[in-house]
Symmetry: none
Amino acid sequence: MKIAEKKALKREAIIQVSLELFSTNGFHKTTIPDIAKKLKMSVGNLYNYFASKDVLAKEIIKYTSNVLADEIEKVNKKDISTKDKIKDIVTLYFQMAKKRPEMIEYFLRVYLSHREVFNNGCEGMLCISRFITEIMVFFNNGVASGELKNQDFFSAFGLFMGYLGGMVFLKGESVLPKDIEEYIDDISINIFNALKA
Amino acid sequence: MKIAEKKALKREAIIQVSLELFSTNGFHKTTIPDIAKKLKMSVGNLYNYFASKDVLAKEIIKYTSNVLADEIEKVNKKDISTKDKIKDIVTLYFQMAKKRPEMIEYFLRVYLSHREVFNNGCEGMLCISRFITEIMVFFNNGVASGELKNQDFFSAFGLFMGYLGGMVFLKGESVLPKDIEEYIDDISINIFNALKA
Amino acid sequence: MKIAEKKALKREAIIQVSLELFSTNGFHKTTIPDIAKKLKMSVGNLYNYFASKDVLAKEIIKYTSNVLADEIEKVNKKDISTKDKIKDIVTLYFQMAKKRPEMIEYFLRVYLSHREVFNNGCEGMLCISRFITEIMVFFNNGVASGELKNQDFFSAFGLFMGYLGGMVFLKGESVLPKDIEEYIDDISINIFNALKA
Amino acid sequence: MKIAEKKALKREAIIQVSLELFSTNGFHKTTIPDIAKKLKMSVGNLYNYFASKDVLAKEIIKYTSNVLADEIEKVNKKDISTKDKIKDIVTLYFQMAKKRPEMIEYFLRVYLSHREVFNNGCEGMLCISRFITEIMVFFNNGVASGELKNQDFFSAFGLFMGYLGGMVFLKGESVLPKDIEEYIDDISINIFNALKA
DNA sequence: GATGAATGAGCTTTCATTCAT
DNA sequence: AATGAATGAAAGCTCATTCAT
C-alpha cells in the first residue's frame, strides 16, 4: 500500500474515533490524549494529521455532512414522488441515528453549540454546505414538480432539519416512548403536510 | 425582610448575566471569574449563591424554561382557535429570539449539548418540565377540540420545538435572508398544516 | 448571669467544638464556618472570641494540656507507690482516649504536626508546659524516692508519652485486636520496668 | 531502556523533594507548585508521574516505610542478641533522624496526622506494612529465643515506635538538652528492660 | 455583641500543544 | 513518521478574615 493511502486511512480513523468521542462525551470533555489513546497512537503523531483540535472538529463536521449528503443525493436521484422522498430521507436519518448515533449527535452536541470553534472557517454553515445543497435540491425539485409549496427555502429547511434533529435529541434524552424508527410514518406525513403545495 | 430580598435580587442578577455569557460565548468558554467580573462581584461570593458552575447552569435552564412556560400558559388560556394559538406561540418565540436571544440560545447552545452537566439533576428533561407541560396542554387541547390530529405527543413536540429551535439557530448563523419575524406567518401555517386534523 | 461569665462559657463552648472538629476532621479540613455552624453562631462573632484560627488552635492545646495536667496532678498528690502512679496515669490516659478521644487525638493529629501554626507562641512546648511539669513532678518524685532510675528526664518523658500516644494512634487506626483499656496492665508494667531503679 | 530509567529516576527525585518539603513545611503548606519549582519541573509534568497530591503522599509513606524496613531487616538477619538488636535499631533510627530527618518526620508530621489523606488506600497501616512486619519479625524472634516477654505484639510495637517517634518529636521541638545520639544507650536499655522476659 | 455577605489570594488539577529524540 | 515527556496558562473552587448593618 502506498504511503499516501496509509496516511489517508489513518486520517479517516482519527476522524471516526474523534467523532465518536466528541459526540459521546462532549467536545471539551474529550482530550487529545483520549483520542490518541483510543487510536493507540501518540499525541504528537496525531498532530501530524490535524493541526489542532479545532481543525479536527471542522474536518469532522465536513465528513459528517458529506456522508449525509451522499445519502440524500441518492434519494434525490430516485424517480419517486416527493412524498416518498421525504419518507426515504426521514428513514435514512433515523436509521443512521440508530446505527451510527454519533454522526447525528455530532450535529446536535458539537456543531450546533460550539460557535467559538466553528466560527473560523465554517461560518455561515460553510462546512455543511453539501448537506444543505442536497436538501435544497430536494426542495427545489419538489417545488418545480408542483408537489411542494413555493416558500422561502429556510422555512422548509428549518422544518425538516429542526424536526429530525429534535427527534434525535429526544431519543438521546431517552424520553421517547417508542423506538425512533416507529415514528418514521407519522413524521414523514407531518413534514409532507407542512410543505405540500 | 430587606436582606432576603436583596439576596433574591442578586441571585437573579447572577442568573441573567450567566445566561447571557453562557449563550454568547459558550458554557466552557465562560469562566466563573468572567461572570463575577461582569457582576462586579467577587468569585467567592458568587459561590455563596450557587454551589458550582454546573448547579448554576441547571438553575438557568429552569429559569428559562419557566419564563417561556409562563408565556405559553397565557396563550393556552386564551379563547382562540388552535391555529391562532400556534401563531401566538411562534410569534412570542421569535420575538423573544430577537429581544432576548440569550434565552432561546441557551436551550440550543448550552442545554442541548452539555449532557455531562445536565445529566445529574435534569435527566429526562426534568428541568424544563414546566415548558414541556405547557406545550402538552396546548397539544391536548387542540386534539380535544378536534382541531389537531391525534398522534404521539413527541411527534408534535419535536416538530414544534425542533422547528422553532432550528430557525433560531439559522438566525444565529446569520444565514436567514429575512428578519426572523418575517417568517412567522409561513412557519405558523406550516406547523398548523403538519398537525391539523 | 454576668456578661463576663456568659462570654467565658461561650469561649469554652467554642474550644470544645473546635477541639472535636479539628481532631476528627483535621485542622485544615475544618473551616471556621464549620465551627460557627456547629455552634449556631455567626462567623463574625466567633472572631470576637478568638482573633484567628491559629490563636484558637493554640488556646485549645493549652486547654487540653491543662485538663490532662489536672488529672496527673491528682495522681501525683496520691500517697501511693510510683508503680501504682504509673498505672493510674496509664488508666486515666486510656480512659480519656475512650471517653473523650478528641482530647488525645488533638495532640497527635493537630499539635504534633502543624508546626507552622504552633511555632509562633507555643515554641518549645510552651503551650503544654503544665502537662510536662506534672510528668516531671511524677518522675522526680519517683527518682527521689529511689523507685525510678535517675536518668535524663526526656528519656523518661519520651517513653511515657510516646508510648501512650502511640497506643492511641494504633487505636485510631483500628488495628488493636483488643479494647485499649485491656492494655493497661501490660503497658503499665512495661513502663515501670523501663524506668525502675 | 534509557527512557524508563530516566522516568524512574525522576519519579524518585519527586518523592525525595516532596518528602523534604512536606516534612519541613507541612503537607498543606506545601503546594504542588512549590515542589515543581524546587525540581525545576513544570506543574503539569509532575502530574504525569503522580495522579494527585494525595497519591504522592501515599507513595512517599510507602517509600519511607520500605527504606526503614530494609534497615531493620538487616538487623534482624544479624546473629546477635536481642538486646544488641534493640541498640542497633535505636541507633539506625536516631542516625536517620540526624542525617535524613525528613524521613522520620514524615511519619510524625504527615502520616500520623492526615487521616483524610491516607484513609483511602492506606487504611489500617497498609502502606507501612513492610516496616511493621520487620518489627514483628524482631519481636517474634526475641520471644522465640526466650529473650523477650511474650505479650500482645502491639504493646511492644507501641512502646518501640512511640518511644522513638516521641524522641524525634522532642528533637524537632529543640527541647532536648543533648544531641539525640547521646540518648541511644539509655533508651536502648529502657526498651530492653520494658520488653525483656 | 451579633450577623453573614463579601473579599480575593491561593489552591489543586487539566490539557492543547510543542519538540527533542 | 512516530513518540510521549514537558510546558504553563488557566480553570473551578475554597476559606480565613473583614466590615457594614
